[in-house]
Symmetry: C2
Subunit: 245 residues, 2 copies
């Protein structure tokens, strides 16, 4: 399934007891239709408040399930905040998470002194003017294979466990000026670690204000020190745009 | 003041005791800043759930009020749902309502089998395919000066009062295809009566499905019979776009 959602009212994708999550809402609706409990696997576990246009979810269903009927039922059962865009049968070896070759995220910035009520929940409102050339320059250090320790929230594990690698390969990163103060950052990587896009955007936006230089960013990457990166950008500008298989 | 708002959480513009209205929120914020009660006059009293990008509001303020400071304070005091875009001093003879030469409304339709979580509160989702040629043809009967009794909710008045005229002059009406199933209706008139745009859109969309013909629409206008028009389109697709003086 390809799933779009407005993450505003959700505590992220991953099912958690007692809170409203996208995975929880989707799993509940599916179980109602197929009448067996279902377990969802998604391509990217988005955080609270983060949106998706092209989240990919797989699920094992009883043989012979009518997918068109399932799709129509899901559209009816789920509110407008979660929309199953497409449903298709896949090979048993397909895994939404592990078969993915890359993920693309978009981050929206509204750079204007005056906010916009219609996109307030979809874009980070940055009133102070950003320099587009500096934004573009600040992308370059991130492209390629790097240890992103300085730009990730390290996952908590048992004290004696080996820390997980935070080496990731960024395939491309760049900004598009959509006019009227609308700026869009798009980044594609084989995989992302936790809060990586928001951390990168926070630092690039600081560069766009002239507070950090592109050269400094290479140093921050090499340092592996999270305290040197700028604060993470807010979740509501972020959207999981597309997953490639 | 030019004011934009997401009408989703409001019971329309006009101040009403006990409910959250745009005028109520704006008036309260202004009174806090200028420290005297203020009375707002707007160009168009939008209904519950209707949005605005270019609502115009005038207010009488004490001589010497610092308008830049007022603007900044209003941006801070009001949430992202109501945004004062500009503030300027006007001549004492200016009246936001009576000085207006025309109002322009936009109505957004999302014509796609699958809904979109990001515009669900800003566009009417119409899953069944619309014929753009039929939509365009159905606009023509509305342009010009007509009695819009068949397309308006008649204002309630004292029983023995003369009914108010529902004759209005529509200057232009047309659709723009923005791609990806995004359709935008734009209509400009010297003034509108209550629910007029939503009633016109409801009938034009019925024509776009082939259920009403452009010729029938002339007949409905001439009949003055509200029962012959299609049901009104929902409020959340409507936006007061611009007011001309």
């Amino acid at each position: 399934m390809v799933v779009a959602y407005d993450g505003s009212g959700f505590h992220g994708f991953a099912v958690q007891p007692g809170v409203r999550t996208v995975g929880g809402a989707l799993g509940e609706a599916m179980s109602k239709v197929v009448r067996v409990p279902v377990e969802l696997t998604c391509a990217g576990r988005t955080d609270a408040g983060v949106h998706a246009w092209g989240q990919v979810v797989h699920v094992d269903l009883p043989e012979g399930t009518d997918l068109d009927r399932l799709h129509r039922s899901l559209l009816k059962l789920l509110g407008p905040a979660v929309v199953v865009r497409t449903v298709e049968a896949v090979d048993g070896s397909f895994d939404a998470r592990f078969s993915a070759r890359s993920r693309t995220y978009r981050y929206s910035v509204h750079n204007d002194p005056v906010p916009d009520p219609f996109t307030a929940h979809l874009a980070w409102h940055v009133p102070e003017a950003l320099d587009l050339d500096l934004l573009a320059l600040a992308c370059d250090p991130f492209v390629g294979e790097h240890d992103f320790s300085a730009f990730c929230r390290r996952p908590k594990g048992p004290d004696d466990s080996e820390p997980a690698s935070l080496v990731r390969r960024v395939l491309r990163a760049g900004w598009t000026d959509l006019g009227d103060g609308r700026l869009r950052f798009e980044v594609e990587a084989t995989a992302f670690c936790h809060q990586m896009v928001r951390s990168i955007v926070g630092t690039i936006v600081a560069a766009g204000h002239g507070r950090t230089r592109a050269g400094d960013i290479r140093g921050i990457l090499w340092s592996g020190d999270r305290a040197q990166a700028a604060p993470v950008a807010p979740p509501h500008g972020l959207c999981l745009w597309q997953v490639a298989y």
